[in-house]
Symmetry: C2
Amino acid sequence: MTVTKPSTDLDIAKKADMKPITAIAAKANIPEEALEPYGRFKAKLDPSKIPGASTGKVVLVTAISPTPAGEGKSTVTVGLADALRQLNQSVMVALREPSLGPVMGVKGGATGGGYAQVLPMEDINLHFTGDLHAITTANNALAAIIDNHIHQGNALSIDPRRILWKRVMDLNDRALRKVVVGLGGPVQGVPREDGFDITVASEIMAIFCLATSLADLKARLANIVIGYTYDREPVFVRQLEAEGALTLLLKEAFKPNLVQTIEGTPAIIHGGPFANIAHGCNSIIATQTARKLADIVVTEAGFGADLGAEKFMHIKARQGQLKPEAVVIVATIRALKMHGGVPKDKLASENVNALKDGIQNLAKHVDTIRTFGIEPIVALNRFITDTEEELTALLDWAKNEDIRIARTNVWEEGGKGGIELAKQVLEVLEKPNYFHPLYELGQSVEEKVTAIVKHVYGADGVHFTDSAQKQIAQIKKLGWAVLPICMAKTQYSLSDQPTLLGRPEGFTITVREVIPKLGAGFLVCLTGDIMTMPGLPKQPAALRMDVDEEGNAVGLF
Amino acid sequence: MTVTKPSTDLDIAKKADMKPITAIAAKANIPEEALEPYGRFKAKLDPSKIPGASTGKVVLVTAISPTPAGEGKSTVTVGLADALRQLNQSVMVALREPSLGPVMGVKGGATGGGYAQVLPMEDINLHFTGDLHAITTANNALAAIIDNHIHQGNALSIDPRRILWKRVMDLNDRALRKVVVGLGGPVQGVPREDGFDITVASEIMAIFCLATSLADLKARLANIVIGYTYDREPVFVRQLEAEGALTLLLKEAFKPNLVQTIEGTPAIIHGGPFANIAHGCNSIIATQTARKLADIVVTEAGFGADLGAEKFMHIKARQGQLKPEAVVIVATIRALKMHGGVPKDKLASENVNALKDGIQNLAKHVDTIRTFGIEPIVALNRFITDTEEELTALLDWAKNEDIRIARTNVWEEGGKGGIELAKQVLEVLEKPNYFHPLYELGQSVEEKVTAIVKHVYGADGVHFTDSAQKQIAQIKKLGWAVLPICMAKTQYSLSDQPTLLGRPEGFTITVREVIPKLGAGFLVCLTGDIMTMPGLPKQPAALRMDVDEEGNAVGLF
């Protein structure tokens, strides 16, 4: 991302001296019987065999609204954990696992970068321990069971026009967004409109990340609404009697995965919903397992604080009975300049005025976190192109606004580059915590959505389309209005318009669809033209990938 | 399958005392650096780190034409290996890995049964080490790249009506057989007819099983023909520059998997094409790795000798430069009675006349193996319902025809129940081997297919539809006629009509399509109404599956 990078993330990762996963586990006091190695450097953990209570403190890393300039949120998350370890803290990282869609589509990993990476990055970014494949398979097994049920007599009177359950693939494949299935005559099934989402948008991914035990996982799977009957009654997975098979397909995947950072800090990577179209946090079982093993757990939530962090506070924290004890907001001067209107090819030049405009995006996210009752720490992720004048402008702003800020340089320096941030985090962890949600579950759907769009996005209000209003009426009638909200919104803007950067004002949010996810336990509100199946770019990253003669990855970031 | 079974295969498997996979590997002289554990009881092997030449002798286990009564081919394969080990032979098993399609669809595993199983059967029958998921992903990544290429300007002028490459899922899902993709307007891709096959029918599965090295894998992937241009010129994967990414997605999966039989014999399980719609043999890399490690490798080929064994002889043996040194044909009295016309619910009653009629199916398979220059051994897999008169009839027939026959009872007794068979196998391995194929590659497509249908199926000849003739003409023009043939035919009959049991005569085979698979290196001939995507039955096996409170599988066979 900058001219001084000595080599690629993949090069640095390959040169790293990884310790056997058994050694990492031993140092983390993981009992041998809880460890199931997957190769030499990955393992699955059986949480039922790890004693103790989940008492570790949660540090949540979030960010400004992302730009193509990149903020390095995963990189800071890893670097912060390594820094805390250098300060002799008992610490673990908890991250999401990457989807193959973006890996094959757009260059850019989900394992951090430089000297702040989780390893083995090659494996983690490819199939890892197969969790996403298990979720894909469970999702599609359910789809096959639904279509088979209709084909074999349709005893439940499922209306093929009102099926909510879509098939998934862990790839970017726009041609599958809208399809017609069941063609070819009476022996090939019943023709109907259908579509594929990317696996990370599957309700099963959300369930996987919110379930607190295998029994809870099964209960949630049974509770999925797959569609409606001809009489508009909801049809649940339990009526199809498929929850046992789905749980069986997921039971090994449901065990969290242990890996290590480049500095040997233990890291748990498990579950990976996107934060724009899903709730954007790693699994509760991973976070709670890490909290048994370490005093501090550094975790991240996807995209800006308006998306992943909001959902962390309202969905994950609630369902997991946990709370963030400190929040870090990652920002870069480059990305703030983009929010101030500078085009991508001009980011290397100093532009203090644009920076000051762009800072308003950061200011909004700081306000949001404060609204949740937490005093955030801004992590200024340094780049070689940052000038002294720009730095001064940002630091002065923070001082005037009484905002904690710390410079980080973890890409180049690893944990050492995160010491200033780590010290501030430790200070905040010593202070009292006033965390509270911005809405209560008993409020109406409209009130809950309004609370999010006003206090988190800074909108004037929300508009529900006719179709969304009808869906809300149905949701109320069925008694589901008590669920929390999972907004699906562009990550690029605080609004639902991807091009409105900075801190937009005087806008409203349009909710075009409200989809009940009874298994996950939330109501998805679709805004703007957010898509649940991405497409590939003209030159997919895949076309630069290869394997060398020794069997090593080439061109993977 | 019989009344005396003390418990289910899953119960027996759960009670088995598995050894750590590191111990199994050590006993098999696998160097530590070649072993990558996946959990405690599975491992991947790096063939490049296993020294030595592939000199072990190959024993191929095949069967009569299968019936719903079951013959127990995998069970005999495992039991035979355990018996050879009891006779102090250096032996390994090489098997295919199961597809989730049949596992979730129809009760019946692919890991043997009773006291002749490979373990851990639960893992092997579910996601195992993720190989099939890697193949699914590579297959579908290529599909996404093709549709994206067309959407982004179609520089290669690919005709969307002439795309051969289909998407896949490792599930039985009839609703996906014929679909229309790319619907929804200009930003959602280009609409076209498409379809999904089951993963085991993917050309990538065939390539995976026929490649002799990672470099060969990549070269074969580059050589896949994905369809034709508007000018009817073939389009290869190498023109899309996707072979590097596909190889990267497959490189870990391409390492063979080590497990153990219930008696602790090392078993390699790797690759799993069906034998009716694909070539039906485990990977060449698995067989060749096993041949480095053991003096005798017991392997199987899918369905009857007309399918898997024929393809073993003509495709796998050729491409892997290996040969079967002994062939076992598994038969049961129950299944032979079905071939003699007895309905499934009458199989428990003695019926010597029906048996004598049904023996003709076995007789044909014996003839076929002899035609290949090998003296087969019939393994009579015993059932409690077999009567003395039936046994005598079968043994007398074998004696009269001068056919080697051995009784096996491995389901109940493990290796001990296969000693008689093992001794006969050892005798045959001492004798000279006259193995030869039934056609040469230089013959015409029509001559090669004719050789198979006459000498293996016992047909009078072959009829090519107009469409097949056009395809053959195109194949000749393009210089591909030199490839071997991979027949796609029903497994139930020697003919292309599933209901013609026994040893049908006076029939012809109709080839309705000839599809070039340049990467796999064969021409697929579709006969009858054989389908490359199965459907689920009215009551899928999945609906009986569950997980108990300790996280153990329930209802998995």
